[in-house]
Structures are given as structure tokens and as C-alpha cells.
Amino acid sequence: MKKNWKTPQGVKIRPNQIDLEDDFYRMTFLPDLGPLNQSVQKVGILHPVFLEETGRVKPYRVISGFRRVWVCRKLGLKEIPAVVYGKEERTALERFELNLLENTTVRSFNLIEKALVLGKLVDTFGVERKEVVQSYMPLVGLQPSPKLLGDHLSLRHITSGMKEYVVKKGVVLANAILLSGFSPGDQGVLLPLLSSLYLSTGMLRELIEWIDEIALREDVEVAGVVNDPGITQILFHPQWSVPTKTEKIRQALRARKYPQLTGMTEAFDRRRKRLKLPPRVALSPPPFFEGDHLKLSFQFKGADELKEICRELVRVSEQRELGELLEML
């Protein structure tokens, strides 16, 4: 990457002459324009944007400074300070690098922006993957790793709606990769469901994996899982809060993904209830019913309470249901 730029003279350009639809050099996705908006209102544009002459109806495309041009447009500014590069000055890759270096000095990139930068380097500018890993990944704040490059490139398959979800909800890379594995149509089906729930990173991963695996195992469309009445009735329930809906939808999907385990858990709970355990005594199976020990735990405040619990436990130990619970292991 070359770093010594010979900068052309600064000029003033009318913002409506700039084609903001042209995103050839763009690496900004869903920027937070609030602070910039305020600063421009107060002191105007301090640094010129970099433009490229295209010779089209709107004769300029942005090399660097998308956010500033947006804000100027929004605020109705008549002019914006700019540095304009003629077509023959520098290669397209060098201009993209200029944008990249400008951005790295003032902000960090979100996940989708990192993927955008790396994707453009590989797909649009034909930079060798090795070069991308070594020279560019550290610039966007990533460890130079071929695997990590591959992971980010896989995000190319995410739809723009899902990209917004990823950025707004701060979805981590591993989950974004899972989302990118769905077809655009299936992402469209998933998006309303995911956006309506309150999901931690682990819960999101579980949900995406379960939906995907249920659909594949049962040979049904993703829509067949997501739009199942058992799910939609929860989702559109007028009284339930978002956390309640989230938990109920998780339970419904879990039961469909793990029918055996769910059946065993329910059978265990039924039998345990029949034991009529004393208060503050818990009896649980080994995780996933793997193993041959039940776990009993209890709490007590004084010797009398302990004696009472022990008496009750002797009663429990003689009940047929306890044998049935042990038989389940």
C-alpha cells in the first residue's frame, strides 16, 4: 500500500452534484450521524471530502466523506469543501485506500463495514487474499488471519435488512456467519421474528441453529418452522411482554428440536411432583439424563428443620415414584 499522496487543490462543490447512490468506494454502513450533524451545525465542514470526477449527470462520486456529504445534504448546505481527483489521478484501489486511511484515523468499523471493506478489496479491486490479510486486516482492526478473512467474506451473503439487524443489535461475527448461511428468502422470513425478540448472543445462536436444523431434519422450509402457528400465536400475543415471548418461543423451538429430551424432562417432572418433596428440597436428573445419579439438594436454617427434611426424605426414599425416576437413567 502506497502512502504518499499528492493532494489536488481544494474546491467548493454543490452537494447535489454529488451522486450519493454511487457506492463504489463506500465503506460506511448505518452510520450514527448525530454527533457529526451537531458539529457541522456548529462549525461547518472542517475537512474537505474527496471526490472523483465521473463525467456523468451528477459529475462527482464520493471517494471519502460519505457521512459529511449526507449531513450537508440533510442540513441544506449550499457548498461543501472538496478535493477532486481527475479520472487519471491514482488507481481505483489507491482511492479506496485513501478512503480507508481517512476512516481509520477517525473511527472504528462495525462488523458489516469490516466485511464490506474486505469484500471490496477482494472482489472489486482484485487484491490477493494474502495481501488483504497482511496489509489491510490490521487497518480495520482485525487480526491478520486467513480464516477470519474467510469468515468476514461469508457475510457478503447477508441481505441489507439483515445487515441492519446485525449492526443495530451488535450481532457477533459467529452469529452473523450463521445468518449468512440462510438464503435471502429465508433471511427475510427470519428477520421479523428475530427483530421482535430480546436475544442474548447465546440465545440468538441457539434460535438460528434450531430453526435451521429443524427445517433440514424435517425437510420443511424455514418459513414452515418460523410461521408455525405454535410460534406465531406466541409472537402476536397481545398481552405478553417481549421477554415472555422470547422465552416461550425458545421453549417451543427447543421442544421441536429435542422431542425425546423434552418428553423425558416432562415425564421426570410429573413423577417428581408425585413424590411431594418438602419445600426447599430439589431433586434433579443428570444433565441430559446422561449418567446414573440423581442429584438431591436442600437448604435448612436449624437442626429441627434438618430433622424434618430427613424424615421426609426417608418417606420419599420408600416411594415407588423414586424407583421410577431412577429407572429413567
Binding site: F288, F289, E290, G291
Partner: protein, 362 residues
């Protein structure tokens, strides 16, 4: 079978007999000489499908580790005391469920050319422990016969173990390259065993691997040559028609093999380290085995819930013992608590196995 596109030869084993013999057989394959196999890591990092590519590259190098390794059985499971003779790592065949995918840092097929040194070490171990019976095999880090042809090691190993009184040597395979074994004097001490699955599973999950009938025919030929024959139903895979299909395999076994020549049949339902799931998903997109209901069990491996496993094992045992109740059947990597649900008798830790093997074998 020659599937190699490149052979990397570690300069340290240039003068080994095994190296020259393999290179002679792979004369058409490009060779690259290397100072250290670790230098291949960089190349691997850039591969989009390192596991697939690894199956087409052979690394001939020197074993620096122990000759015998304990089978990595999961904690909390009853162990069958299998000891791995580590001379080849990775496998040219391609089964979707193969646990070796990504198991070693090096995805290439690795052959330790200093076989004689390795066997000398084994000899020492056997001599120093005359009272211990070692169950030894090469079928854990690779397929014992899949490399035969360009890399004919089986005959050497059979000849070595044929006169070892305290070793029970097993060649475990899905391949059918048994010609090199047939004329050997194995003294009845060598077991050749086949991993079996119904043809429907082979078609979907075992890419480029010999069909069921060919495996059983190879087993029959080895039986004729006096070898003991073992079978491993591992992994047993659950799918709607599993009962009909697995029963069919059991029937085929006893059509061709005399139960008196079968020292054991092992059973193990599908187990997957969680990290293998994305690998299978990527490499075998049509495979559905990973989508079945599986829960984390012993050693953190995903497996079918216990009632499913018990049902599958019970059926298999019933079908096998329907032919001969004396055929010894054991469960691979299952906890002790499962055995009484499958068998009438509960085996004791470790040594019980050898007593049973002893009775059937020696």
C-alpha cells in the same frame, strides 16, 4: 489405490526403506522435499478445503512420538483398552462423520517411514510386559488398509505381530485391499475387522468407500485365509429405515462368516465432537446426520439421547445373538450404566474385556 497429487518427503527419512518403496510406487506423483512438516502449516492456512486437500497429499516423515498411544476414549465411558500403533495419520477415504476431520493440525496423510524403529519400540514394550495382553491396532488414526497399494504396510505388520504372544493385533478397515494378507503366516493371531453400515448409509455418508458387499466379500476371503474376523458397527446412524437396513447387514454377515471366527462385534452409535458439526455441514451439505436429536454426553460429544441408543443397541444385540448367542458384542464409548439396559450381564472395569477376549481368542 493412488489418490495422491503430491508427496512431501521430509529430508530426515530420505534413506528409509519405506520412503524409497513408496516413492517407487508413486513415481508419477510430484515430490517436494521439506525440512520439517510443520512448514506445511502455512500452506494449509490458505486452503479453502484443507481437509479435502489433505486427503490428496502424502507426507512421509519420521515419528518422534510414542509408538503406542492409548485410544482417546471419552471420560466416564467403559474402555476396551485399544492401543493405537501410530504409524499413519489421516485417511484417503472420506466419511462425513469421520472424527479425524480436523483432529490433527496437519490435514495431510502422514506416514512415519521409520516403521522399523517404531516396531522395535513396540517389541521392547511387549517384552517388558510379558503378562499384559496388548490389544493393538492401526485403525484409529487412519483406515488400516485404505493406503495399501502405494503404501503396503499391512503385510509387514502382520508378520511382526504374528509371533507376539502378548499382543492381539487388529487391522480395522472399510477397504477391500486384502490380497497382500492372504498368503501370510499370521499364526491365527491377527484379526481383520470391517466397519460396516447399510449400503444406504455408505451411499450418503462414506464417499468413495467400498460397498457393503465388497467389504463382506473381502472378509470372507480373509476368513478363508484363516484370519479371525471382527466387525464394528460404528457409527450406527439413526434414520427412519435404520432397523430394516441394519438387520439386513447382520443377516449378510452371518450368510458369509462363520460366527466361530468372529471374536467380537462392537457397537457404537454416532458421536460427534461439537466442533465437527460445522465441518460436516460445510463438507457434506447433503448429509443430514447432524440434524438428528443429539445431546452432549460423555466427553462433551454429541450423541443420541439414551433411550434411542438403548433401543438401537438392544435390537442389534438381539439380531446378532439370534444367529449365535456366543458372539461377543461390546459397546464402544458408553458409560457403565448403559450396559445392563442392553445386556443381561454387566461387565467389570477394563480387565473384564480381556477375560472375555481371552475366552474367545486364545
Amino acid at each position: 489405490m493412488n489418490c495422491y497429487e503430491i508427496v512431501y518427503v521430509d529430508k530426515a527419512v530420505l534413506n528409509c526403506e519405506v520412503t524409497s518403496s513408496v516413492l517407487e510406487r508413486l513415481a508419477q506423483v510430484p515430490i517436494e522435499f521439506i525440512d520439517d512438516p510443520r512448514q506445511l502449516q502455512d500452506e494449509v492456512a490458505w486452503m479453502s478445503n484443507p481437509i479435502g486437500a489433505g486427503k490428496r497429499g502424502l507426507v512421509i516423515t519420521k515419528s518422534k512420538g510414542k509408538a503406542l498411544k492409548t485410544c482417546p476414549g471419552a471420560r466416564g465411558t467403559l474402555c476396551c483398552n485399544y492401543t493405537i500403533l501410530d504409524i499413519v495419520q489421516n485417511c484417503p477415504l472420506d466419511c462425513s462423520y469421520c472424527i479425524l476431520q480436523g483432529y490433527f493440525t496437519n490435514p495431510f496423510i502422514v506416514l512415519y517411514a521409520n516403521v522399523d524403529e517404531v516396531l522395535a519400540e513396540v517389541d521392547g514394550i511387549l517384552n517388558r510386559n510379558p503378562r499384559r495382553l496388548f490389544r493393538i491396532g492401526t485403525g484409529e488414526f487412519t483406515d488400516s488398509l485404505a493406503l495399501e497399494g502405494p503404501i503396503p504396510l499391512a503385510a509387514k505388520l502382520v508378520s511382526f505381530f504374528a509371533d507376539k504372544e502378548n499382543a492381539l493385533f487388529e487391522l480395522k478397515t472399510k477397504a477391500v485391499y486384502v490380497d497382500s494378507l492372504l498368503g501370510l503366516n499370521h499364526r491365527g493371531r491377527i484379526l481383520v475387522s470391517w466397519s460396516l453400515n447399510p449400503q444406504a448409509v455408505i451411499d450418503r455418508e462414506e464417499v468413495g468407500v467400498a460397498p457393503l458387499d465388497a467389504r463382506l466379500e473381502a472378509a470372507r476371503r480373509c476368513q478363508e485365509a484363516g484370519y479371525k474376523i471382527g466387525f464394528h458397527f460404528d457409527p450406527i446412524i439413526y434414520y427412519p429405515d435404520w432397523e430394516r437396513d441394519y438387520r439386513g447387514v447382520v443377516d449378510r454377515i452371518f450368510e458369509l462368516i462363520d460366527p466361530r471366527n468372529i471374536p467380537w462385534i462392537s457397537l457404537g452409535t454416532l458421536r460427534l465432537p461439537p466442533g465437527l458439526k460445522p465441518v460436516i455441514k460445510k463438507r457434506f451439505p447433503y448429509s443430514k446426520i447432524i440434524y438428528e436429536e443429539m445431546i452432549p454426553g460423555a466427553g462433551g460429544k454429541l450423541r443420541y439421547p439414551k433411550p434411542v441408543r438403548v433401543q438401537m443397541y438392544r435390537k442389534m444385540v438381539e439380531w446378532i445373538h439370534g444367529y449365535d448367542p456366543d458372539v461377543f458384542v461390546y459397546l464402544c464409548m458408553e458409560g457403565q450404566e448403559l450396559w445392563p439396559k442392553v445386556f443381561d450381564e454387566r461387565p467389570k472395569e477394563g480387565s473384564m474385556y480381556f477375560k472375555v477376549f481371552d475366552r474367545n481368542w486364545w
